[in-house]
């Protein structure tokens, strides 16, 4: 048995009696320090302040929050080291359905009622597993991916690794994805599927195919996952992003609408929904989703200038220039100064349209950089829109050409053509499209397929 007396426990539960029960279970294991959280926000605050060794978290947290959301949020902000144990506590058998599908799983879950002995058995085995993976966790945290993969390779062939063979393969695939070895990741996920048809592994195949720009194959795989496990919402996100890459924005929005209704407080999904809705021309939905993000994504640092720019962009697309101006002016000058070139470009482009007196001079000031700089997709579109509006054809066409030559051409085609035709330049757009296609044939650059 591991020694629990020196471990710091954090019990998260909104029900006082259940909280006391969890505390007494932890104390029976010899725990000396047991802290409490009564709600989601407080839990995040405490974990940020001082990461506990062992988290016992009830699945139902009140206020429409779940333990699974908390776990996802902690991972998203990198607040949960691999060494910390996260144990979900639940009275509902249905949580196992969640765990069987999703990518982000707790270290384990335990169904109420349970004895202190049973919790201890579970915690002991998690400790064994974490010990087994300790070297790997260290290399992964340092982003030494080649080292991490070498360790996993050794784990896979070791006798001690036999009880963890799926976990080893899963970690291997994740590291391969993270380090850009997408073809290897695909092979690893397919290897897992040969052993068993896990939904998360098939979603992994889809993600790696998407990274390779093999979009129709990716779509086929992810459609299968979404149809088979409708409660696997991460798969809905993957599907939506593949649909967008294929230019099927209505389908992307539909998938995200459904998933968002089931997970109303998942703000990453809301951002994705806004992106799909914008591409789909549904600025009302995009604007509602982004306003919800700005008002309610309450994790410190969660709402970034990029979110405000996205909302301003949505207002501009809907021709609600006063709304756009209001959002842009809510950004402090110091925040604007600290932005990278892409965000600055978006800021001045959107400002030039919504508050021309102030925005236009800044836009022209940045123009030389916009003609040569590497910009992110959203920034290129913003710059292109404003350049079209100012009849700066060289700048607009330059951005359009870059976008049409990128791997996102399919995704953006409708938006770009729409903007050109709004300014009466549809024929010019066709010419740009033709030129890019010619160059592609010339250089034999494959298009997304």
């Amino acid at each position: 048995m591991a020694d629990y007396s020196k471990k710091r426990f954090l019990v998260i539960d909104d029900q006082p009696l259940a909280r006391d029960a969890l505390r007494s279970v932890a104390q029976t294991l010899g725990a000396f320090t047991v802290e409490f959280s009564t709600n989601y926000q407080d839990a995040i605050y405490r974990i940020r302040q001082n990461v506990p060794d062992i988290i016992l978290c009830d699945y139902v947290l009140g206020e429409g929050r779940s333990g699974q959301q908390l776990l996802e949020e902690l991972r998203r902000f990198n607040l949960l080291p691999d060494e910390t144990i996260f144990m979900m506590v639940t009275g509902e058998q249905s949580y196992e359905q969640v765990v069987a599908a999703v990518e982000l799983v707790p270290d384990d879950y335990i169904i109420k009622p349970f004895s202190p002995d049973k919790l201890q058995l579970r915690l002991d085995r998690i400790m064994e597993k974490k010990n087994f993976f300790a070297d790997y966790y260290r290399e992964k945290r340092r982003q030494e991916y080649a080292q991490a993969l070498a360790i996993l390779q050794a784990c896979r062939t070791s006798e001690a690794g036999r009880p963890y063979r799926y976990e080893i393969l899963r970690q291997q695939a994740e590291v391969e994805m993270a380090s850009g070895l997408v073809e290897q990741a695909e092979a690893t996920y397919r290897g897992i599927l040969e052993k068993f048809n896990f939904p998360w592994a098939r979603a992994g195949v889809a993600r790696s195919l998407q990274q390779q720009n093999r979009l129709s194959e990716a779509r086929q795989e992810i459609d299968q996952v979404v149809a088979g496990t409708p409660h696997y919402f991460d798969a809905a996100d993957v599907k939506a992003s593949i649909c967008m890459a294929q230019g099927e924005h209505a389908e992307a929005q539909k998938v995200l609408d459904t998933a968002s209704q089931k997970t109303p407080r998942n703000y990453q999904r809301k951002r994705l929904l806004a992106e799909a809705a914008n591409l789909n021309g549904d600025t009302a939905t995009a604007s509602a989703a982004l306003s919800d993000v700005l008002a309610n994504d309450s994790m410190p640092g969660a709402v970034t200038p990029a979110d405000r720019l996205a909302l301003a962009r949505t207002h501009v697309a809907a021709n609600e220039l006063i709304g756009a101006e209001k959002v842009l002016l809510s950004l402090r000058e110091s925040e604007v100064q600290n932005m990278a070139l892409s965000e600055q470009a978006s800021y001045v482009a959107l400002l030039a349209l919504s508050l021309p007196g102030k925005g236009k001079p800044r836009f022209s000031g940045l123009r030389p950089a916009l003609m040569v700089g590497e910009l992110e997709t959203a920034a290129r579109i913003d710059v292109m829109r404003t350049a079209l509006d100012l009849a700066d054809n060289d700048l607009a066409d330059h951005q359009c050409e870059q976008l049409m030559a990128s791997s996102e051409a399919k995704k953006l085609f409708g938006t770009l053509r729409g903007l050109y035709s709004r300014y009466g330049r549809e024929m010019d757009f066709r010419e740009i499209q033709r030129q890019v296609a010619l160059k592609r044939i010339h250089h034999e650059v494959p298009a997304a397929g």
Binding site: A21, V25, I111, K112, F114
Partner: protein
């Protein structure tokens, strides 16, 4: 139908939360006063197990029922059954032995399989004279989980199907892998000369 299932599930969920509070209060008094109230806790867990099993039976008997398959360490699963049953069986003078030879992780529905093995060991304990053995082996095309006892064996073969056996059969066949399904075998030819309950999973 879905609505009824949700109502049942939520009622059972509340009941299990209450049972957890009761069990924790008992465990805390045991620790505080140096008592052994293991049988009281066993009764609480058995009641909770019964509630879960009723819900699972209802859920799994419907068409299109889905399992939650996760990679599982079979030895851990056996140890959990031992933890839940050993002390209780010892009260009746019966020893529970565990013999797990499966080392690799295996994809299965951990909660339902554990519950089913708990149920099988409980049943075996009711008829055993002095021994129950839970064993796990790899076979040519999967794994085999077996519960045997040294009692008189099933009175008739095949035995009458109660909730537990119906659920076990359904659970076995829902475990499907590369086109092969699991199966349940019952017999009186166990290694201990009593009943044999054997679940094969692909």
């Amino acid at each position: 139908m879905q609505h009824l299932l949700d109502t049942l599930a939520s009622g059972i969920h509340d009941a299990k939360n209450q049972l957890f509070i009761a069990e924790s209060l008992i465990a805390a008094s045991e620790a505080k006063h140096g008592l052994d109230l293991g049988e009281a806790r066993y009764a609480i867990e058995a009641a909770a197990g019964r509630l879960s099993r009723t819900l699972s039976a209802y859920r799994l008997m419907r068409r299109g029922a889905q399992l939650a398959i996760v990679p599982c360490i079979v030895d851990d699963l056996c140890r959990e059954v031992a933890l839940a049953q050993k002390q209780h069986l010892a009260q009746a003078g019966i020893t529970l032995e565990i013999d797990c030879q499966v080392i690799d992780e295996w994809p299965l529905d951990r909660d339902l399989i554990t519950d089913m093995l708990n149920n099988a060991v409980q049943n075996a304990g009711r008829f055993a004279r002095s021994r129950v053995v839970l064993s796990a082996r790899t076979t040519a095309d999967g794994i085999c989980l077996r519960v045997e006892d040294d009692g008189p064996g099933f009175a008739e073969l095949p035995p009458r199907r109660g909730t537990g056996l119906l659920l076990a059969e359904r659970l076995a066949e829902l475990h499907e892998r590369n086109g092969r399904k699991g199966s349940l075998q019952l017999g009186n030819d166990g290694a201990l000369a009593g009943a044999r309950f054997e679940l094969s999973l692909p």
